[in-house]
């Protein structure tokens, strides 16, 4: 909708064809840019359709509406639109028992459907001990709603998600990563159901017991479970991205519940991701990507030849965007033992994953400049699947996490990673001590 608003602002009447199911999404986008009265014409042409006769019928059906939208005089509301939302929403919104709070929040569309901890003054005050920043400090304003991510709002959503205070520094850095460029908000609303994946590096991971080993991305660890969840709630309640209204993901993605891992730096033979991306080894960082697909495979054999052949032979080109190879420490060690650096593995994958020359033309993605100018589709027009561009110089990444097994993970899709440094509060050591022993203790049976 942004182009249409831009053109209206230049004084030219505009009308936009919108797939009928995207009406809410478009109007939210238009409101967020200050033009809630934009004229659109809903049509029934299914996204990415290629069926000419069908499109012709649909367009003919709505053509009168198109003409009317550029010629029909404006109403008073269209000339000077009025605001929907109250300017000063209350800080305290509800009072009730646990079941009532949960139902109230769910019905307001503020949760993910799972139970929340009520964000009381007391609980929010406790979680704020995790940061030196004042509660009203503005971390970022985030598209599309331009909601203000203050430290307090982050804390409220963190309490709801079940976070411990020691996760606040990561959440603040996570918000900074999400707000770093328009890419994340675009991915979060897209039909492609891209899920934010958060990789954590540096000492903060061990300090908060973030799992980097067996089952890192499975439920069972409070840090992995609640950090991703809190970011999901922030995307909902600060960015204003709600399912079926702004988030038009066709199928959705279970990765949107929480998809968080720490890199298994201790067992990786290579420099950790944050060092590769220019941070100091002593820094802690959080890195955001938006995979659409998560594929797991066993390598054809566990030596370098087998691992690389599995990657090259199994990458699926139509799942375009960034490719991140997840290796267990064993697989990384096998490659390193045979002299492979991370960079060499990445270059090997870029050079050797190929498709037929006409592949991208058949997909309708053949404009070569598309990939040069596009911030998040690192696809090419030739036979190479991965084509480094100005905006996506590094289309292949490698993360090392997981237990001592041979499974490999393919995270596919989305724009280039965004990495932000995690700033720790002054009393970090005491804080860590206070919360570090909250871990599961499984009885033997």
């Amino acid at each position: 909708m942004y182009d249409a608003i831009y053109i209206e602002d230049k004084g030219k009447p505009t009308v936009t064809y919108i797939f009928e199911h995207f009406y809410n999404d478009s109007m939210s986008a238009a409101s967020s840019k200050g033009m809630p009265v934009i004229r659109v014409v809903p049509e029934a042409i299914v996204s990415e359709s290629t069926m000419r006769e069908y499109i012709a019928t649909e367009i003919t059906t709505v053509f009168d509406d198109i003409i009317s939208a550029v010629t029909r005089p404006l109403t008073a509301e269209e000339k000077s639109p009025q605001r929907h939302e109250p300017e000063n929403p209350p800080r305290l919104v509800f009072k009730g028992n646990l079941a009532e709070v949960n139902q109230f929040f769910y019905r307001r569309g503020w949760t993910d459907g799972l139970p929340v901890i009520p964000p009381t003054e007391e609980a929010v005050a406790e979680i704020l001990t995790g940061t030196d920043l004042p509660a009203d400090h503005l971390v970022a304003k985030i598209e599309p709603r331009l909601g203000k991510a203050t430290v307090e709002t982050i804390a409220v959503n963190a309490v709801m998600a079940g976070c411990l205070p020691t996760y606040m520094p990561l959440l603040i850095a996570g918000v900074q990563a999400f707000a770093a460029n328009p890419g994340p908000a675009m991915m979060a609303v897209s039909t492609g159901s891209w899920a934010p994946f958060w990789l954590v590096n540096g000492i903060v991971a061990a300090d908060i017991n973030l799992n980097c080993s067996y089952g890192a991305a499975s439920p069972g660890d409070i840090a992995n479970a609640t950090i991703g969840r809190a970011m999901g709630l922030i995307i909902k309640n600060v960015c204003g991205i709600r399912k079926k209204i702004e988030d038009m993901g066709v199928y959705g993605n279970p990765g949107k519940y929480s998809f968080v891992a720490a890199e298994n730096e201790a067992n990786s033979p290579w420099e950790p991701l944050h060092v590769e991306r220019g941070f100091s080894k002593d820094d802690s960082t959080i890195t955001l990507t938006f995979p659409q697909s998560f594929q797991q495979m066993l390598p054809f054999s566990t030596d370098a030849k087998g691992i690389l052949a599995t990657v090259v032979g199994s990458i699926v080109p139509a799942r375009f965007g960034l490719f991140t190879l997840v290796l267990t420490p064993n697989n990384a060690q096998s490659l390193a033992n045979e002299g492979w650096s991370k960079q060499a593995v990445k270059e090997y994958i870029i050079k050797n994953t190929r498709v037929h020359e006409d592949y991208y033309r058949r997909l309708g993605l053949d404009a070569p400049q598309a990939s040069e100018q596009n911030t998040f589709l690192a696809v090419s027009s030739g036979s190479e699947i991965f084509h480094p561009t100005k905006s996506g110089p590094d289309p292949v990444h490698i993360y090392v996490y997981g237990g001592f097994g041979s499974w490999m993970g393919f995270l596919q899709g989305g724009p280039s990673p965004i990495t932000k440094k995690v700033d720790l509060p002054k009393n970090w050591v005491q804080l860590v001590k206070k919360f570090k022993n909250i871990v599961p203790n499984y009885v033997r049976y």
């Binding site: 182009d3 042409i45 367009i59 010629t71 800080r91 509800f94």
Partner: protein
Amino acid sequence: MEQQSTAYEVLSPWAKADPISLHGLAPRLNKVDGKTIGLLCNNKRAAPLILEITEKLLKERFPTASISRFKSQTFSVSALEKEREGEFNDWINEVDAVIAAVGD
């Protein structure tokens, strides 16, 4: 047993947002014949087809209208193609109204 006598008083998770200035729409055309109608196309697959058919219908219905196309290589010209802003503005100046297809 939950003792329901007292309850949780809770803070809102829904962030504040600064009120943004709201804009009205540009004045509409009084007729289409004789005007230059811009067709704006993004790079989603269905968009070119939608506009191709729209152009055909416009020409049939308004023989004296003229058509000018602009093709964006990304999903949104103004948001992402800063370097083409000049070209885009020139195009807007040339046309009297715009029909956009995002082909989502």
